[in-house]
Each structure stands twice: as structure tokens, then as C-alpha cells.
Symmetry: C2
């Protein structure tokens, strides 16, 4: 896995080869192919690794008692999420490329995305049940739209194309979301 | 262009060849290569065509006099935008594939996206100046987040992966956005 990470970061997804990874890992072809059928497989496992760090953020306790507390918790979560994207840029760039080029990686990414959306939908439902959030919207659809805005800013940061500070992105995303959802 | 459209829709971006397009257009190689250096070029021109129909929606007059009118105008715009995605599905599927696989097409898509975001940012600024929208957020960052949520739902619809009706998507997107932005 460490060898895979190094090779992917050095060459990018398209140019990385399983031979190079095997060479760097000082292992044999047989051993490698017992575990992975191709480089897509290795990338998917590395992606799970990175995404677990993001899940930890998404799964932080969320039981706000007020609109203000909801704002603070969400702002913190979004901040950690986008800072993590920034920290993990080298590997996230490879992941972005792999999502574009590999059908398997893309399917895997979609499953990861659904896991995030499910978790957000739970948080929205919690706030709706506790009377903090409006109930004329669908928690699942709101969670999707919200995750999408976050995800697209994540890719901007990964590509280093963001023209605003992460702090400003976090403030604006959070202000709109809590303003739109919380009563 | 008509031949290009047909061939791309039939074969997809990756499998389409410029020879097939030339054959279908009953023209010569020389003539074709005067206008286009490769199939990416043809796709980019076809993409501009389709996107002009989306621009028309984005550029509908937007001068709301109240929060309620803003809601109605935005709901109408989002509805038209996502219905257009649905109507243009065959070509939009090709465009999605091309954005993934061609650097030139992807760059072009990013320019198209910026044009949408600029237009939305103008609309947000208008509402802020007229006292309808909160001024503690940045019109440009808001426009980006908002476009991203719309764009991602657009791709869901294009891939026919949306599990909710377009009407429900429109309602939830619009409710969150106007709730978050308008005073």
C-alpha cells in the first residue's frame, strides 16, 4: 500500500503501473496479484484509507441545541473537511484523476459519496425532529445538495484552483446552509 | 455538426472517430480538418451549442421586488435548467464522458461553468443591493456553491440516476437557497 501510494503520487493514476508498484514494494508478481487484480484495485484501497479520515469528520457528534450551536458545529465540520482536502492534496489529485478514468474507481467514489450523504441526512433529520430545522424540505435531498457544494469546493482546493481562502469558503457555505435550513 | 452529433450520440465520445463523422457528413478529410483539428474540437463546438440553450435560461431577467418573487423566479430558472438537462440527455451524456476524458473539453467546461457563476453572482449582487438578500456573504462564493449543487443534480439527471422527481429536486434546492440568502 505504501509503495502504491508513492508510485501513484509520483506518476499520477494513468501513468502509474503495477510493475512499478511491485518493484517499489520489493515483492513478487504472484504475491501482488493475490491481493489486487489491477492498479484500480490498489487505488480503491488507498482511497478508502484517505476517505476514512474524512468520514471521521463527517461522523463527529451532531446534537445541536440551538441554531447558533448548529452553525458552530457545521462550520467546524466543513472547515475540517476542506482542510483535510488541502492536507491530502497529493493523494486526492490522484483520486480525482482515477475517478475520471476508471469506471471501478468512479463507482467506488459514488458509494463513498452516498455514505457521506446518508450521514448528513441523519443530521438534518435530527435537527428537524428537535424543532431546529424547517420540515418543509426533504432531509435526503437537502443532504445531497449540501454535500455536492462541499465536494465541488473540495476538488477546487485539491486542484489548487480556489481563488478564495478556505476560511471564506467555509463561512459562506455554512452561512447559506444554516440560514436556509435552521429556523 | 449534425453528423458529429449523430456519431457522438451513437458511439459515445471515446469510441467516436473523426472518420465516421466525415463519412456521415459526406465531406472530405481536407474540408473537415480545415475546421477541426480533432474530434475534441467538434465536441467543443457541439457543447457550445447545447450550452447556449442553458445560458438562455441563466440569463432570464432577474429583478425580484420581494423574497417571494425571488423564490418564484429562481424556482422557475432551476426547473427550466434541470428540465433542459433531461431533454438534452443523449448529448449531455456524451459531454460528461468528454469532460472526463479530454483535457481540452474539460477546460472548456470550466470556462462555461465560470460564465454561469458570473451571471448568478450578478443576480446575487442585485438582490443584495436592493436590500432583499443578506450582505454578510460574498456574492461570488454563494454563486459558486449554488451552481455546484445545481450542476451535480444536472449530472444525476443526465445519468438518469436521480431517485427523486425533478420537481422535488427543484423545490428543495430553491427553498434552501432562497431561505439561506433572502431576508
Amino acid at each position: 500500500m505504501a509503495a502504491g501510494r508513492e508510485v501513484f503520487i509520483e506518476y499520477g493514476f494513468q501513468k502509474a503501473t503495477i510493475s512499478e508498484i511491485i518493484k517499489k514494494a520489493h515483492t513478487g508478481y504472484g504475491t501482488a496479484y493475490v491481493h489486487f487484480k489491477n492498479k484500480d484495485d490498489i487505488l480503491i484501497e488507498l482511497m478508502e484509507d484517505v476517505m476514512n479520515r474524512f468520514y471521521e469528520i463527517a461522523e463527529l457528534p451532531f446534537e445541536p441545541k440551538s441554531r447558533q450551536e448548529a452553525y458552530r458545529l457545521i462550520e467546524k465540520q466543513v472547515g475540517l473537511f476542506l482542510e483535510m482536502a488541502n492536507k491530502e492534496r497529493p493523494m486526492m489529485r490522484v483520486i480525482e484523476e482515477a475517478i475520471r478514468l476508471s469506471d471501478d474507481v468512479r463507482k467506488n467514489w459514488q458509494a463513498i459519496r452516498e455514505r457521506f450523504i446518508q450521514r448528513i441526512a441523519q443530521d438534518v433529520a435530527y435537527s428537524q425532529k428537535s424543532g431546529l430545522a424547517r420540515t418543509d424540505v426533504d432531509n435526503y435531498l437537502i443532504a445531497r445538495g449540501w454535500f455536492y457544494a462541499n465536494e465541488m469546493y473540495l476538488w477546487e482546493i485539491v486542484r489548487n484552483e480556489h481563488r478564495f481562502s478556505i476560511k471564506d469558503i467555509v463561512h459562506n457555505l455554512t452561512a447559506m446552509y444554516t440560514g436556509g435550513l435552521y429556523i
